[in-house]
């Protein structure tokens, strides 16, 4: 139970820093960053084998943010886990910063794969899982996909490949927030029944509330205990903009940033959440 609270606190802090990053940059993608914060918090707080003092540790677990535009969420969790100073997050997307608009593994400690072009991250994760097994590493590879991203054909090439090679240490999280730049995924290009599609590709499938830390924790716990020869996907029903009242469920917040007034509202909501959680935590 204690662990669940600490995951919730981490998720709230990730959200708080996402807002700080996109507000400082006056640019970036808050909506989808906020929706995947709970999964990132869960993985980094409890499951991931990493060492921020030795980011190069070869047999570490890896996280690939295939929906690379949600870099603010990844950068926030990396800073909160001491890969680099929290204050650097305010340099996000600026000319002299190493925090590039989309994840760049060459300049940012803790970023396991450069992403940004949708569909490619999951293939890279498949490569990591294939080589990790061949090298006999005892590690896990996590990959985070957007639901709009599932429109990229390459995703399904990679999904087929992961099943073919029985990559049972590969865990995909689909951040099913139902929205993309041009509107609802259902009207832009319907991705349909995502769980059914993955099942048809012979993956283990877990469907849950992707903004519910307890459900995510239970799913990851199950995955880690399971004896399986298949890759696993967590289809997480999420809310785009989760945690900031006026951003929730609004596709317009995919790639727009708050003005000062909106920033202050968002920050006060998230600070209140963090205080509340930390109070119960004590």
């Amino acid at each position: 139970m204690k662990k669940i609270k600490s995951i919730e606190v981490l998720a709230a802090k990730i959200r708080r820093w996402i807002i700080e990053e996109v507000y400082s940059a006056k640019s970036g993608h808050p909506g989808g960053s906020l929706s995947c914060a709970d999964f990132l918090a869960c993985v980094y707080e409890k499951y991931l084998n990493f060492d921020s003092n030795h980011p190069e540790m070869i047999d570490r677990d890896r996280v690939v943010l295939s929906k690379g535009h949600c870099a603010p969420a990844l950068y926030a969790v990396l800073a909160l886990k001491d890969y680099f100073p929290l204050n650097d997050l305010k340099t996000f997307r600026k000319i002299d910063s190493y925090l590039q608009g989309h994840p760049c593994m060459k300049s940012i400690p803790g970023v396991d794969m450069s992403t940004g072009s949708l569909g490619q991250g999951i293939s890279a994760a498949v490569g990591m899982a294939l080589a990790s097994r061949a090298e006999k590493y005892d590690n896990w590879i996590y990959v985070i996909l957007g639901d709009g991203e599932l429109q990229e054909g390459q995703v399904w090439e990679a999904v087929m490949c992961a099943a073919h090679y029985g990559l049972n240490r590969l865990v995909a999280f689909v951040d099913l927030n139902g929205l993309q730049i041009d509107g609802n995924t259902a009207t832009v290009m319907n991705v349909g029944d995502v769980a059914k599609k993955f099942k048809a590709f012979d993956w283990n499938v877990l469907s849950l509330d992707g903004n519910n830390v307890s459900e995510l924790d239970m799913a990851l716990d199950t995955i880690h205990r399971a004896k399986t020869d298949k890759p696993t996907v967590i289809v997480g029903n999420t809310i785009k903009g989760k945690g900031v009242s006026f951003m929730q469920g609004q596709y317009q917040w995919h790639g727009s940033t708050p003005n000062q007034e909106q920033y202050e509202t968002a920050v006060s909501e998230l600070d209140a959440k963090i205080n509340e959680l930390e109070k119960c935590h004590e």
Binding site: I58, M113, Q120
Partner: protein
């Protein structure tokens, strides 16, 4: 030399992978073409390090990138037309942007593929690959230099595009006698009247052309520019200075290929007249490889006559 065994550079590539697989811990991917790209030799010897990706070249390039992040080089093989075409954006974003150790074995390059026709004849791949930052490009001309190219790609970090042919070719180099250095052209013939800079299976044609020209009193310097990126500016400038005229010959679109790379150096550092011989911005067609080389003006005889009209 003509009594020596002819071998395609792609076959030499397949055999080099298997041979070097003993000493170097790398991975190999293929896209349902293990018999054509000849990565099957490696697969037979090292099945645990060879993965067939099926007919999905885009996925293959990003999978190769993922493998390379674990610290070991990964070769990804398919026909050049699919490697540079279907895999282009994956090569750009998954491989070249993070500067990962992926080596692309692009076989069946150029029109000498033959009967399969234009859909399978890459003429644009050099242009595409040259314009992506961090990419290295090597186009070897025979079996010995192909093995050196594979070894060079393994011993140097970063992405490489190895442009390989299907047509069997005569040896240019003898085993143990090929001074192959990344980014350094090799002077094969000395001459003072002009310099011919070439690469891949055009090297053999150019050597024949230079013999014909020599018999007519025209003495050509011939350079095997096996590394197209980074290009050897030094050897090009010296050629411009010493011989005053340069001809480039390539089995590739005349736009953005070897000729362009040479012209970029010459025009900015030591201007001199240049003649570019290659595919004249058009698609290939079906036919036998040698018929196609003739059709597109890439035989020794046709190269000779082009050069003669250039220097007249």
């Amino acid at each position: 030399m003509s009594n020596q065994v002819k071998i395609a550079t792609l076959e030499a590539y397949g055999k080099a992978l298997a041979e070097l697989g003993k000493d170097y811990g790398f991975y190999v991917l293929d896209a349902d073409l293990t018999k054509s790209t000849m990565t099957r030799f490696f697969k037979e010897d090292f099945p645990e390090r060879h993965f067939n990706m099926g007919i999905a070249e885009g996925n293959m390039m990003s999978v190769a990138a993922g493998i390379a992040t674990l610290g070991k080089p990964c070769f990804a093989s398919t026909f050049a037309v699919f490697a540079a075409g279907r895999g282009c954006e994956q090569i750009r974003n998954s491989i070249c942007y993070p500067n990962l150790n992926v080596k692309i074995g692009a076989t069946h390059a150029g029109i000498s593929v033959g009967e399969d026709g234009a859909s399978h004849q890459a003429v644009e791949d050099l242009g595409i690959m040259r314009s992506i930052p961090n990419m290295h490009i090597i186009q070897p001309c025979d079996a010995v230099s192909t093995k050196m190219a594979v070894k060079t790609a393994l011993e140097n970090d970063g992405p490489f595009y190895l442009r390989l042919g299907r047509l069997t070719v005569e040896p240019v180099y003898e085993e143990g006698n090929c001074n192959f250095l990344l980014g350094k052209g090799i002077r094969l013939r000395e001459g003072t009247d002009l310099t011919i800079i070439t690469s891949g299976l055009m090297v053999q044609e150019v050597l024949k052309a230079s013999e014909i020209l020599k018999s007519e009193g025209v003495h050509c310097r011939v350079i095997d520019m096996h590394t197209i990126k980074p290009i050897d500016a030094e050897i090009i400038i010296k050629a411009a200075r010493d011989t005053g005229r340069i001809v480039t010959v390539e089995e590739s679109n005349i736009l953005c290929g070897l000729g362009s790379a040479v012209a970029e150096v010459v025009s900015q550092q030591f201007p001199c007249p240049i003649k570019m011989i290659g595919i004249k911005d058009c698609f290939g067609r079906s036919g036998k490889p040698l018929e196609l080389l003739d059709y597109y003006g890439l035989t020794a005889e046709k190269i000779t006559s082009e050069i003669k009209s250039f220097i007249e």
